[in-house]
């Protein structure tokens, strides 16, 4: 097992290099760069722009640029943002924290709610309660997340039970540590709830279908014929089999920690990576975009590795291969 994990970790390096190389190439060969917009400004002479381009190293061939970037990555230097004139790492530090807090909060909440609901729906299949649940799940899947965001924001702004926008209240500076935490959590709640609401439907349906499929399997009939108690049939035999496909999905969800919340972050004014990266992409802020792609890629690979490890722990058939 340990050998397998080490093996996989070694495979990461070429994978990441390949991934970042292609991303870098695509960004740089698309027409225009950060200075294209400045050209429109008649007050800046073409010579100045050319000098700045040299300063930023953008006059060199794309391949060379990439290797300079790669060399810096290995010394943990993510480069400098063109538009903010500060190191990218400094720029994303706080934003990254906010986004990860939001994503983990909403992923946990979504799973904690939808897994038990899915099991309940499968056990009570075709009952009234199940039909009501599935109806709402359908609505949740059909509505786009920005629309759910609008509805929630409208509701919050009418009732004013939770703060909207930003991460902190005015009194934050003078608050104690615990109060600071509670205040942060309160601000987190609105975008967190929106993300959870838009994710619950599909996860509920997946879990319900997996559990139903497990319940209809022959080994459940065997368990019934053995005369073991119903709770053991559900929570030992059926659950273990139903949870297997969910682990793969969990791995993928981890990879979406950075990008998954983007739209909701922008709508609710949550200062996370989503908005920063979007602005970065629009203004060709190369190193900022590359940093976010790099972190996204690392998360994707780690998410998959985690899913594979978990799957091996749960399923003996995978373990042996």
């Amino acid at each position: 097992m340990r050998r397998y994990i080490l093996n996989r970790l070694f495979q990461f390096i070429p994978l990441l290099i390949g991934m970042t190389f292609i991303s870098f190439l695509i960004i740089q060969i698309s027409p225009g760069d950060y200075f294209t917009q400045l050209k429109m400004n008649p007050e800046i002479s073409p010579e100045t722009i050319e000098n700045m381009r040299k300063l930023f190293g953008l006059d060199r061939p794309v391949i060379i640029q990439y290797f300079y970037w790669l060399k810096n990555i290995f010394t943990f230097n993510l480069g400098e943002s063109f538009s903010y004139h500060v190191p990218v790492s400094f720029l994303i530090k706080v934003r990254l924290k906010n986004t990860i807090a939001l994503s983990i909060f909403s992923i946990l909440l979504t799973w904690i709610i939808s897994i038990p609901l899915g099991i309940y729906g499968a056990i009570k299949d075709k009952s009234f309660n199940e039909r009501v649940l599935s109806f709402f799940a359908y609505i949740g899947i059909s509505l786009p997340s920005f629309f759910i965001a609008m509805l929630v924001i409208f509701f919050i702004s009418k009732t004013a039970i939770l703060p909207l926008g930003g991460t902190t209240s005015i009194f934050y500076e003078n608050a104690s540590g615990f109060e600071k935490f509670i205040d942060y959590l309160k601000h987190l709640l609105v975008p967190g709830i929106i993300l959870t609401l838009s994710g619950i439907g599909s996860l509920y349906r997946l879990m319900k279908n997996n559990f139903l499929e497990a319940l209809n399997s022959p080994y459940i009939f065997t368990a019934c014929a053995k005369g073991i108690p119903t709770y053991k049939i559900y929570f030992k035999h059926a659950l273990r089999n139903a949870i297997n496909p969910m682990i793969t999905i969990f791995g993928y969800e981890l990879s979406g920690i950075l990008s998954g919340a983007g739209l909701v972050e922008i709508i609710t004014g949550w200062p996370g990576m989503g908005r920063l990266v979007l602005e970065g992409v629009l203004s060709f802020d190369l190193y900022l975009v590359m940093a976010s792609l790099l972190i996204g890629g690392i998360l994707l690979i780690f998410g998959n590795l985690l899913a594979d490890i978990l799957l091996a722990l749960v399923d003996p058939r995978v373990r042996l291969r």
């Binding site: 014929a225 053991k232 030992k236 089999n241």
Partner: protein, 314 residues
């Protein structure tokens, strides 16, 4: 001989279809009874009726089942009987064993008595050995075993509580011939060793004759003929049994064409009003189309056919 199971006029189905119609038979202690018939004739459903694990859309509409003095149809504590008094094994052990748990875990969990974990383990290993498996199998997962070994593990699981009755739903169909005979001989030995009765479902009538004391022949949810294996096999009375035995390859010389039964099994949704076999029967008379024949006892057997008795004239 003491009667262990007595099935009386059981009808299973729903508003639309009847899967089983007026099923009656008995199983004595230490007896092997085979149920023979084509696919979809209700063999497996008969077993599921006895252990009361019918699909959700089907129910027992009428009739009684007495098992060891208890009437099962109205009995509502089946968990006490399932696995404890009645064990069951299946056609494809690979899909009827849970892939995520070891054999040891799955057999152990079937033990009903409240005994210590260590004692349970000893008991499981003991029964695995009796089934001809090594004690190593305790720690193995189903996918690590061959089909025959899986079936042996399955039998161990169903017999761990010393049940009185074993329901075997085509346990050898998915296995190759040599493995299958290993399982058959094991089952035959278990009868005396465990004081066990077995209801053995198969579509192979010669196998049924080899293993069992009694044979029930089913057709479209009806038991058309039942009696001692040798008699049913050598001198079948019902036209369906006669034709079925006529289809056996060993009845033919090399190169000779095997006679099949003309026509098809009627769909359960569209059964003929009278005897279900009448559309394919060469002795068909008018009465066969309108009435389902009752059981007639001749030559130690019960046959449902108007050919016997004095009905044919009408």
């Amino acid at each position: 001989m003491k009667k262990l199971l007595n099935v009386r006029n059981v009808v299973v189905g729903n508003e639309e279809i009847k899967i089983l119609r007026e099923i009656s038979f008995e199983v004595n202690e230490k007896e092997i009874v085979s149920i023979v018939g084509e696919s979809g004739c209700g063999k497996s459903m008969t077993l599921k009726t006895i252990i009361k694990l019918l699909p959700k859309n089907l129910e027992i509409l009428s009739g009684e089942i007495y098992f060891d003095g208890i009437e099962i149809v109205k009995y509502d504590a089946m968990e006490k009987i399932r696995g404890k008094e009645i064990g069951m094994i299946f056609q494809e052990p690979s899909s009827y064993l849970n892939p995520l748990f070891t054999i040891g875990n799955q057999v152990e969990e079937a033990i009903k008595e409240k005994i210590e974990k260590k004692e349970k383990k000893e008991r499981v290993i003991k029964i695995l050995k009796e089934m001809g498996l090594s004690s190593n199998v305790y720690y193995q997962y189903p996918h690590q075993l061959s089909g025959g070994m899986q079936q042996r593990a399955m039998i161990a699981m169903s017999l761990i509580n010393n049940p009185k009755l074993l329901l075997a739903d085509e346990p050898t169909t998915a296995l190759d011939l040599t493995t299958a005979f290993g399982i058959i001989d094991l089952l035959k030995n278990l009868v005396t060793k465990y004081n066990l009765s077995i209801i053995f479902v198969t579509h192979d009538i010669s196998l049924a004759k080899y293993i069992s004391d009694k044979i029930l022949v089913m057709y479209a949810g009806i038991i058309v003929e039942k009696g001692p294996s040798n008699l049913v096999y050598t001198n079948p009375l019902h036209p369906y049994t006669q034709k079925l035995i006529n289809c056996l390859p060993e009845k033919y010389k090399k190169g000779e064409r095997i006679k099949t039964i003309e026509g098809q099994v009627p769909s359960l949704k569209d059964l003929p009003e009278g005897c279900p076999f009448s559309p394919r029967c060469e002795y068909k008379k008018k009465i066969c189309e309108n009435y389902i024949p009752g059981e007639i006892k001749i030559e130690e057997r019960n046959v449902r056919c108007f050919k016997y008795g004095n009905f044919m004239e009408s």
